[in-house]
């Protein structure tokens, strides 16, 4: 019996330690749900083992006895023994608890899961208020990366390179193909003050030259035809202080515009993230994205 009890304790400890060890990174002790779950898990295994051991002890050391009922079914008899009192008491106890819970503890006309949710959100916001109010550049970049990995990486890839052309490669502004397509078709989606980008601003060899120039990062001499673009995007391509998109590099404005409006282009469609991120998080992704370009 002693051996069994020790074995039981070892099993309980091993299981709990294993769980704690593996879930460790995710275990946050200020989340009471986590704590309650761990307690629940412990209760499951501990109560089962000790109750069963109690009865195993009786199997080993007790003897069966009692008065038999009159009936006998295919050789099976039944004692009229009283119910185990512990079992009976706990049964009644849980019934009382149930009524208490339902009518006194959490009366259902007063408890609401949505109310609970609202509280959770308030608490959470309060907790991170200081981080969100005056984030340093470092904080923004780190926050941006974590948001990116959860929200954006499924399309852009964890390295932001666009998963073999399945979405925008965010370490590089635009490809020649993309620029050509915009030149040919125009574009109107991002909601810049300048409004729409008209189609056919350049053609043939001019368009080729412009596209090569922009895709190459606008280095060296601008092709003559670029003048047509400069009227809106500025000679440096930086979008004239936010009047039109910066086509030279990623900037915060572009990222927030894309997040707000989504974007449809030659590669595919990027959904709008309007309302899914809070303003600090949007700033943070922008800051992260502009930083990875810089590190190229």
């Amino acid at each position: 019996m002693k051996k069994m009890v020790i074995g039981g304790i070892i099993l309980i400890v091993a299981l709990m330690a294993g769980t704690y060890f593996v879930a460790g990174d995710a275990f946050q002790s200020d989340d009471y749900i986590n704590t309650l779950t761990m307690i629940g898990a412990l209760a499951i295994i501990a109560i089962t083992i000790f109750t069963v051991l109690k009865y195993v002890n009786q199997i080993k050391n007790d003897t069966a006895s009692g008065e038999l009922v009159d009936e006998n079914w295919d050789g099976i008899g039944e004692y009229t023994n009283a119910i185990p009192s512990g079992w009976g008491i706990i049964f009644i106890g849980t019934i009382i608890w149930m009524f208490w819970y339902f009518f006194v503890g959490y009366p259902t006309n007063q408890f609401s899961q949505i109310g609970q949710y609202n509280e959770e959100v308030l608490e959470n916001n309060a907790k991170f208020k200081s981080v969100w109010e005056n984030p340093t550049d470092e904080t923004l970049k780190a926050m941006g990366e974590s948001v990116f990995l959860v929200q954006c990486a499924p399309c852009h890839g964890v390295d932001a390179e666009g998963i073999n052309g399945k979405a925008q490669n965010l370490t590089h502004r635009m490809s020649k193909e993309q620029v050509l397509s915009v030149i040919q078709n125009g574009q109107q989606k991002l909601g810049y003050p300048m409004g729409a980008m008209p189609p056919m601003m350049a053609q043939g060899a001019d368009a080729e030259a412009i596209a090569t120039y922009i895709a190459g990062g606008m280095k060296g001499e601008a092709p003559v035809a670029f003048a047509a673009c400069a009227s809106c995007h500025g000679a440096d391509g930086k979008g004239m202080n936010g009047m039109s998109p910066n086509i030279a590099e990623y900037d915060e404005k572009l990222v927030t515009k894309v997040l707000e409006h989504g974007k449809k282009g030659v590669i595919g469609t990027m959904p709008s993230f309007k309302g899914r991120l809070n303003p600090t998080q949007e700033k943070a992704v922008a800051s992260f994205l502009t930083s990875i370009k810089a590190g190229e």
Binding site: T37, T48, E71, G75, F91, M143
Partner: protein, 490 residues
């Protein structure tokens, strides 16, 4: 009561259902093992085109083991326990014999059709009620046939008082009849197809959205109650005292556990809908009633353990007793695990994770599987009139499967809790710490351990099937029916 020393029980139906139990057990568990390997090694999804993907196979597993394996076991033991504790033989009534044969035949065809239709993608998507409407109709027919057989047999009984085991089989029949009908209310769409050439198989649920969910989990939870719990308790109430030669510890405990279980179970279905869009009060009801449910559940298990008072040596020497005692233990484990997972705050983590399949398999492998196999082991020498072929194979099977369950349950326990906590984790900036795929990748080792555990259990089941086959064909012939302990060659 007249003496019935001469009563010859008729085991032909029992044998047929025994065969079905083994056949569907193999199919169902083989698919379960494939599923668990697919989650560990996803390339395995595409070995058989669209027919081998996880989604197509999953209903095949759940239905195969619940309605193939478990129900066959229930029917096999019903026709055995029923005849013996009611003291009547099926061959006393041509009518009942015909009904029972039809019951088996239609049942068997239905399960085979289920396999085919699931592979083809005919499913209504509601868990444990996936069968499309034509098969539902078949189910209703043989369920009614079972009821006719059951009440017919009870009507012919020579034992005035019906035994506890029978109460549980009756509850299964009555409750499932009601649950199945209400949850499968669906309209074949070809009836209102306009002139569109609609599929004949397709149907649409009579309930929508949250209502559909409420009905479904009222059903789903109680399908567990009246397929995986009540009839299995019925089995242990017969086979444990019979095999061990002990008297049931307490009639009063049987009585309170039975009526307690019957009353409380039906209120607890709300624990599948915690934090969903059904009303708060319904959820609270499900949650609290689940906790109350521990006691009537444990009552039966305790009654069984106490029945074995003073019989430690039987537990050491008989693998059959071992199966049954460990089954009670796993039953206790899953009936306290369930209620604790039903506490709202715990369910916030447990729901949607692998901890739930973990909980499920504590019950189904440890309790349903062990009890079903133990019952067949006990019946085999009586119906084939031969000694069990090999005790050492039984021992091997016992340890292999026990280790398999421990692998299953520890890995899914850890996997589920880890995953649940990762979904909720925030970093120091107030954004989610893990992307979804992080929480998938972390599970890989646990999925692998589970798959290996499942494989152990399956191999054990093959050993079981072989042992029963050998018993039926090559076991030493017995000249007299054993009273209690089943004879087995070592």
């Amino acid at each position: 009561m007249q003496s019935n020393a001469q009563l010859e029980y008729d085991y032909s139906i029992v044998k047929a259902f025994t065969f079905a139990t083994i056949l569907f057990g193999i199919i169902g568990m083989l698919v379960g093992v494939i599923l668990s390997f697919q989650l560990a090694f996803p390339e395995l999804n595409n070995l058989a085109g669209e027919y081998g993907t996880f989604g197509r196979l999953r209903p095949l597993h759940t239905n195969g083991v619940a309605f193939g394996f478990t129900l066959s076991g229930i029917f096999a033991t019903w026709y055995y326990v029923g005849q013996r504790t009611l003291k009547m033989s099926l061959n006393e009534s041509k009518f009942l014999m015909t009904v029972a044969k039809l019951h088996f035949g239609l049942y068997f065809i239905t399960i085979l059709l289920a396999v085919v239709t699931f592979l083809m993608g005919f499913t209504t998507s509601k868990e444990y009620a996936e069968l499309e409407w034509p098969l539902d109709l078949l189910v209703v027919v043989w369920w009614v046939l079972w009821g006719v057989a059951m009440f017919g047999m009870i009507g012919m009984r020579r034992e005035r008082t019906i035994y506890v085991a029978i109460w549980y089989y009756m509850s299964s029949f009555l409750a499932i009849a009601m649950l199945y009908l209400f949850n499968n209310m669906e309209v074949p769409t070809f009836l209102w197809s306009g002139d569109a050439p609609s599929s004949l198989m397709h149907s649409v649920s009579m309930y929508a959205g949250s209502n559909d969910a409420s009905v479904q989990w009222w059903y789903g939870h109680n399908a567990v109650a009246f397929v995986f719990t009540a009839p299995i308790i019925g089995m242990i109430y017969y086979f444990l005292p019979k095999e061990s030669g002990q008297n049931i510890f307490s009639y009063k405990l049987s009585l309170l556990s039975f009526w307690g279980l019957m009353f409380v179970y039906l209120w607890a279905g709300g624990h599948h809908l915690l934090y969903s869009t059904v009303p708060d009060w319904m959820q609270t009801m499900g949650s609290t009633m689940s906790v109350v449910l521990i006691l009537p559940s444990w009552g039966s298990a305790i009654n069984m353990l106490l029945t074995m008072k003073g019989e430690w040596q039987q537990l050491q020497t008989s693998p059959l007793i071992k199966f049954m005692i460990l089954a009670s233990t796993f039953y206790m484990l899953s009936t306290i695990e369930g209620p604790i997972q039903a506490i709202k705050s715990v369910n916030a983590i447990a729901h949607f994770t692998d901890w739930i399949p973990g909980h499920v398999h504590d019950g189904v492998l440890g309790w349903v599987g062990f009890m079903t196999m133990a019952s067949l082991f006990h019946m085999a020498p009586r119906m084939f009139k031969r000694e069990i072929y090999s005790k050492s194979l039984m021992e091997t099977q016992f340890w292999l499967q026990t280790v398999g369950i421990v692998f299953y349950f520890t890995s899914m326990w850890i996997a589920g809790i880890t995953q649940g906590m990762m979904w909720r984790a925030y970093d120091e900036y107030g954004s989610l710490l893990y992307s979804f795929i992080d929480t998938v990748e972390v599970l890989h080792p646990y999925y692998t351990i589970r798959a290996v555990g499942g494989l152990f259990y399956l191999v054990g089941f093959f050993i079981f099937a072989y042992n029963i086959y050998k018993t039926a064909t090559a076991g030493r012939v017995l000249d007299k029916e054993p009273a209690n302990a089943s004879p087995m060659a070592s």
